[in-house]
Symmetry: C2
């Protein structure tokens, strides 16, 4: 096998270190400790002060990172935590002192999620005005907190989501319907927290950190109405394709026969505060700092990278080639940082993930160029249905692949990026990181 030139090997090593800085910043423990500090009987939250001496502290939450977030809260508040329940994805739990951890199914919700949600609601039924409820939210929280409205079943709610996805409805439209089929989403958890104070602590896995989208916004006002939800279903002509129980529920709501989701200005938000302790941007900023310390010129280009992975790869490769050519937008040694989440339209029969496919398409586009590296990985440590987080490619990947009997073009055509990079030893593997702030893509030019 041909080995990398020295400078390229250095760049690859640097990319790994820079990515590690992004991961460290998204570590739930680090993220929460950066924003929450205890000072005796006071909890300091980015300048705001909560008096812990007055009432009890409850911790609830859901999401892939919520056990790790709960552990960090226990570390800070210790025995001041009275009780708590968090729901996590299977395999994402941690041993905790006072907060109970429920495992449930993700991305398809199951009965265990319903039970976990019921445990949270039971806990919140006890709250008093002097209490503080800390709500820990992270990616996956929506599926892990299923709470079908009365008279409907979990599988009926799922059927609606499936129909909406199949007809190409926008995520905002899907959420308008989902929030009105749930007893918790769209701000309704904030109602359940009343009369206590409500501090939402979130790790964002959504572009732009919209609080009403992360985990379906259980503690923020919902701008949409029952009428909107019915309008969406009518627009896609789904009246006859969704369960009758759901349709009846939405119609009753539209007639004012049951309460709307809470709107901005409602009483339940008077004692509600929100804090995003980790997101893609904070991770990119940490990565940028590390890159600067490694003596790269740096630029965070966007945290909104999206679209088809191989198309994004083409645009990113054009960036790299232009840095080499003209030093635009910054001259080498350069590190451009991108965040976001691309998607793969699967056409082949291979194995891979969005980050691995991006790296593969990038390797093809920069083949033969000197000292250019593309590094792309998911901060949750997983990329598609593989055990890798992503992959790293450079201008020599093409030649090394050919020498090893691997065909980059065929691998791309067959969506087989995993086996391609496995064959080269260029997969990035971190194991589960218990966090998720989307993907990080690094472009390095030496």
């Amino acid at each position: 096998m041909i080995s990398e030139t020295r400078r390229t090997a250095q760049l690859r090593k640097a990319a790994g270190e820079i990515f590690q800085a992004a991961l460290d910043a998204a570590n739930p423990r680090v993220a929460i400790q950066r924003h929450l500090q205890r000072d005796g009987e006071k909890l300091l939250v980015n300048g705001a002060i909560y008096d812990l001496g007055q009432g009890r502290v409850y911790v609830v939450g859901a999401g892939k990172a919520s056990a790790a977030m709960a552990a960090a809260v226990e570390e800070i508040l210790g025995d001041r935590v009275s009780d708590g329940v968090v729901v996590v994805k299977d395999g994402h739990s941690l041993p905790l002192q006072r907060i109970r951890v429920h495992e449930a199914s993700h991305p398809v919700p199951d009965a265990r999620g319903v039970h976990g949600t019921a445990a949270i609601l039971a806990l919140l039924a006890e709250t008093r005005a002097e209490d503080l409820v800390i709500v820990l939210i992270s990616g996956g929280g929506s599926a892990l907190l299923p709470a079908p409205v009365e008279g409907t079943h979990l599988t009926e709610k799922q059927a609606v989501t499936r129909e909406l996805l199949a007809c190409g409805a926008a995520i905002e439209e899907i959420n308008a319907v989902r929030k009105h089929c749930s007893r918790l989403k769209g701000g309704q958890l904030a109602r359940a927290v009343q009369p206590a104070s409500c501090l939402t602590v979130a790790l964002s896995d959504v572009i732009g950190d919209p609080l009403d989208v992360i985990a379906s916004g259980p503690t923020v006002p919902d701008p949409t109405t029952y009428q909107d939800a019915l309008g969406v279903l009518r627009r896609y002509e789904l009246q006859d394709r969704i369960p009758a129980s759901i349709w009846r529920h939405l119609e009753r709501g539209a007639r004012g026969e049951q309460p709307e989701t809470p709107k901005a200005g409602e009483a339940c938000f008077e004692k509600a505060h929100h804090l995003i302790v980790g997101n893609n941007l904070q991770s990119l900023l940490a990565a940028q700092e590390r890159a600067a310390r490694l003596e790269f010129r740096t630029l965070i280009v966007t945290t909104a990278l999206q679209g088809e992975s191989r198309e994004a790869a083409r645009a990113l490769s054009a960036f790299l080639l232009e840095i080499r050519r003209s030093g635009i937008p910054i001259p080498p040694p350069a590190c451009l940082l991108f965040g976001g989440e691309t998607t793969v339209t699967v056409r082949g029969k291979g194995k891979g993930g969005r980050n691995q496919e991006l790296a593969l398409a990038g390797a093809i586009a920069i083949a033969g160029a000197e000292d250019l590296v593309i590094f792309s990985a998911g901060t949750d440590g997983s990329d598609g249905p593989t055990d890798a987080a992503g992959a790293v490619a450079d201008g020599e990947t093409w030649a090394r692949a050919k020498a090893a009997g691997l065909d980059p073009l065929r691998a791309l055509e067959d969506n087989d990026s995993y086996h391609f990079f496995q064959g080269l030893g260029d997969l990035i593997t971190t194991g589960p990181t218990l966090t998720n702030v989307m993907d990080v893509t690094l472009l390095l030019a030496g």
Copy 2:
């Protein structure tokens, strides 16, 4: 009709001024005068000196801008120009003093192009070692300089190009074949210039300014061979689909029975120099300077924007929304500058161009956002088969369109960006600019 808010109107006006600076920098006269100066009997070219007292000066060239470039050379050198021939696209000629202008067909070459090319070759047959030949190259030069090899006809060459395009061959592959079917492309004009000195002055309309691609590189070494050309035709199984005369010619060449295109290091390049006087980057730099003077923070993001126009629009809109949200990559008031050339896959029956479609898809993506502007236009003053150069859109375009009875989504679906922006009075029209350094796209956030 709803009118724009004041700040948005200011941003749109600023975008127009910034684009004008890009156009000014690409103006052939300005571009040439920036790089070529006369000092008595000396011609100063970016530090190099040509002694005009020794021999004659000839000017030849081809491309959409070559008459305007020739006018600039006449202005500088006056009666020191002995003779000259340039070939331009129909409607792109200018009255000149000493240099003859031939009009010919573009993009499909015709017999007038063949005659113009013959006139150039006749002129170059007279050159002596003490002479200087200035070769003026700009976009379109390849089609305007047709010189089929002996025993083949223009239409046969065209048939080959058509077959290669139809089977999806890469531009490098197409050029390898075309250069070996021509008596001028791929460095062969440099041979014809011998024994005189050869100064190529180019306006680049290609991403990355590859001199061997602009106008098919008539004065630079050709890295490809007859064998390569045959390999391309075999790879796409075109042996039986191309004219027999062309195949025979390539086989004779591969057997060494006729001269190869000149390679790097050959004598004909010893007295050859090249100068790119205008390109997308130089225009973006001028535009950036103007934007900075208008008190925007500025960043040239890339000169390699490409891909499907509406996909590019989505990525660019994400940039704008992120500037509004988090000040990444630069906070408002911000002007991001992009260059390149996107493409439209026509599916509808409407009228439009790549820049207009990009602006339309952008208007949809940023609908409702405050004080964001997307301005996109071709520096040649034309965009698709329309009389507009491009269009300007902002966060209020959607609402203004709705109020005017225009449907943005339907217009995009039908590739009908021209009538959409015509209805809003938001087309950009410059008329023919007699230059081309690809497109300029500006993103402004106030």
